[in-house]
């Protein structure tokens, strides 16, 4: 009887510990989200370099305008010439893709690939890790020069691009690496963010490296993955007119 009581106490203690840990790590994720989100407008020039083994490298340059508080963003493609004027607009909870050739807007999803790269449309929006994921496991690990918390995350909704994630969060509360998994645990993609740049009191990655675990090509007997490098330049917190976050703006600049 005494043993049973001890065991019950231990179980209860473990459960309480787990709840406390869950709350602690949720708070950690909230800090991570807050550090890379903006209260006002944020704009920058992104360069997406896509490397397809055996095919070649393509470069897409885009202008990004984000208003995180209102969950709005606009991406305007500047280069290459063939895609110039294309745009993505997130307003009222919907993500639109604008094609200047057909002058048409079509619905798209944040889970879709961005311009056939290894980036998802959701990679360009604000981070919502604390909102979208629950913590399934944690451990301490050294990642290069960074001491990190490694958190195993499980999505709590169906809107996210990947149902499972493992994130490496350095002690300065920035995500340094993440691995995206399918529901069955298949590694889909690895992301690395070695350096950040400070914009005001927030942070923006300098470069984001994405490696696709499934897509690539075997060359000389060695599998080479598709890779994407996203570089962020000219970050700014200057206010952006409301009219930028509109279909009319995309139509105007797409002409």
């Amino acid at each position: 009887m005494k043993r049973v009581r001890t065991l019950a106490c231990l179980c209860a203690f473990a459960a309480v510990q787990a709840v406390v840990a869950q709350a602690d790590f949720k708070a950690l994720l909230a800090k991570v989200d807050a550090l890379v989100s903006f209260d006002g407008d944020f704009s920058a020039e992104y360069t997406v370099m896509q490397e397809n083994p055996g095919v070649g490298t393509s470069v897409t340059t885009l202008a990004m305008f984000r208003r995180d508080k209102a969950s709005k963003y606009l991406i305007l493609i500047l280069k290459p010439e063939s895609d110039k004027g294309k745009g993505y607009l997130k307003i009222d909870g919907s993500l639109w893709l604008y094609d200047p050739v057909g002058r048409s807007f079509t619905f798209t999803s944040s889970q879709e690939r961005f311009q056939n790269s290894n980036a998802r449309n959701s990679d360009f929006t604000r981070s919502t890790l604390a909102l979208d994921y629950d913590i399934a496991g944690s451990k301490r690990e050294k990642l290069g020069k960074f001491d990190c918390w490694v958190l195993d995350l499980r999505a709590n909704n169906n809107e996210v691009s990947f149902p499972k994630m493992r994130v490496w969060i350095s002690d300065d509360n920035l995500v340094r690496k993440s691995e995206d998994y399918s529901l069955s645990g298949q590694l889909m993609r690895t992301t690395a963010i070695p350096t950040y740049q400070k914009v005001g009191d927030r942070f923006v990655p300098v470069d984001i490296y994405l490696v696709d675990a499934l897509r690539g090509k075997t060359i000389n007997g060695k599998f080479q993955s598709e890779k994407t490098k996203i570089s962020v330049a000219k970050p700014s917190l200057a206010p952006v007119p409301d009219s930028v976050y509109s279909k009319a703006y995309l139509e105007k600049v797409g002409k």
């Binding site: 169906n158 996210v160 990947f162 399918s182 529901l183 069955s184 298949q186 499934l214 690539g216 075997t218």
Partner: protein, 426 residues
């Protein structure tokens, strides 16, 4: 006697009747060719569509208010339909309609549809597909996936390779699973180009669909009318206490029913193969209409040609007719000689035309037509198969012969009315 005279006249006057004979033969050949082609196209299309949709009749369960396809009553439906005695097989299907992709060696191909099926039951039906590598008979024991040749070639995959399937689960999350490639089939039509088939149980572990079944396929026994069978299936399902739409023969009607959204729970839609093929069927019906139009034009030409020729023939053979009448041959017999001649012409022309049409069909069936855009759905092994219904061919021949007899009737009657004395004086 009259028939023999008519036959002798036909043989003797080869030159005069040669042109008419050639016209009838050519016309009949064209009709045979078009009829054989459209028949073959229909057979090929329906065969492919049957594998794709799961038989002659498809039953889809529509759940509301949370809309999704599901069949929670599969055992009851299978038992009820089998008891009707019209079906050979009633099979479950679990379809992933969009968002499914297959990966191999770093290459990815999106699939229009990934279909989960019970291979233990359905594999003999898949054996009729054009397999270029592997066979479907091992699927029942081993699980796995079969891919189209187009997909396998683009992936660079061979039978035995591990194929990764990526799909969106029922809950909307990405899920992956590894399947062994068991077979590669050739089907460049819209039913096969980007379609993959795998074990329904294995697929359900990825889709996490509540029942794993989205459709039920009903393979009817040979000779059973699908429309009548569908009505029986509907009646028996209603007797089981299930909600069922009226039987659907057209896809647009199906869309209207679905849009009503006036039910809660699962309501079943019963679609015949014709409903699935509604748009394509229009195209085939158009080919058939062109065939009948050509047959009509051809009949008019034959009628006018024979009528005019026989007027000249009667005029030229007035003395011969007079002689026949003078030696005692009666008017009906004279008329019969000319009608027999026309009938003989029709029969001979039809037979020659049929042979010519068959030869043309054989030549067309030997040509690789895979390069013709939009034609792939009608091809088998990249070639057009032909299919002629004996009853239709016989009907065509009867129409041609009747047209010949009708056309010859008036000239034959005027020949029969010639007075022997007048004829011999002319």
């Amino acid at each position: 006697m009259t028939a023999r005279i008519a036959f002798r006249n036909l043989v003797r006057q080869k030159r005069r009747y040669g042109l008419l004979f050639a016209a009838i033969a050519l016309g009949f050949a064209v009709v045979t060719l078009l009829g054989g082609m459209s028949g073959g196209m229909t057979v090929s299309l329906r065969r492919k569509a049957k594998s794709y949709y799961g038989g002659d009749i498809t039953i889809l369960g529509h759940n509301r208010p949370d809309y999704f396809l599901t069949v929670p009553d599969f055992p009851a439906i299978r038992n009820a339909v089998m008891e009707l005695g019209v079906a050979d097989l009633v099979v479950p299907r679990g379809n992933v309609y969009s968002g499914g992709s297959v990966f191999f060696g770093g290459a990815m191909i999106r699939q229009k549809r990934i279909t989960g099926t019970d291979f233990a039951v359905e594999w003999p039906r898949f054996a009729t597909m054009d397999f270029v590598e592997g066979r479907p008979d091992g699927l029942a024991e081993n699980g796995g996936i079969i891919l189209s040749e187009a997909t396998a070639n683009r992936l660079g995959a061979k039978v035995g390779d591990e194929i990764m399937v990526l799909l969106t689960s029922f809950g909307g999350q990405k899920n992956t699973g590894v399947f062994i490639l068991r077979g590669i089939f050739r089907d460049n039509s819209l039913f096969g180009f980007y379609t993959a088939y795998c074990d329904i149980g294995q697929l359900t572990t990825l889709t996490l669909h509540p029942t794993g079944i989205t459709d039920v396929g009903v393979w009817l026994k040979p000779g059973i009318d699908p429309a009548a069978a569908a009505e029986k299936v509907r009646a028996v399902m209603e007797r089981e206490g299930l909600l069922v739409f009226p039987v659907i023969h057209r896809k647009d009607v199906y869309d209207l029913y679905k849009a009503k959204r006036d039910w809660t729970g699962v309501k079943y839609a019963i679609l015949t193969l014709d409903a699935h093929l509604y748009e394509v069927k229009d195209f085939l019906d158009a080919i058939r209409a062109v065939t009948y139009f050509l047959l009509g034009v051809f009949v008019i030409i034959v009628t006018v040609g024979i009528s005019n020729t026989y007027r000249v023939v009667v005029f030229e053979r007035t003395r011969e007719i007079g002689t026949m009448r003078a030696i005692g041959i009666q008017r009906p017999a004279v008329r019969a000689i000319f009608l027999y001649e026309a009938l003989g012409l029709g029969i001979a022309g039809s037979i020659a035309g049929f042979a010519l049409g068959l030869a043309a069909l054989s030549i067309v069936a030997g040509i690789d037509l895979s390069g013709v855009p939009g034609f792939q759905m009608f091809l088998e092994r990249n070639r057009l198969r032909w299919d002629l219904e004996p009853a239709i061919v016989a009907l065509d021949a009867v129409i041609v012969c009747l047209a010949a007899v009708v056309a010859a009737w008036r000239p034959a009657s005027s020949a029969a009315s010639i007075e022997p004395a007048d004829a011999l004086r002319s």
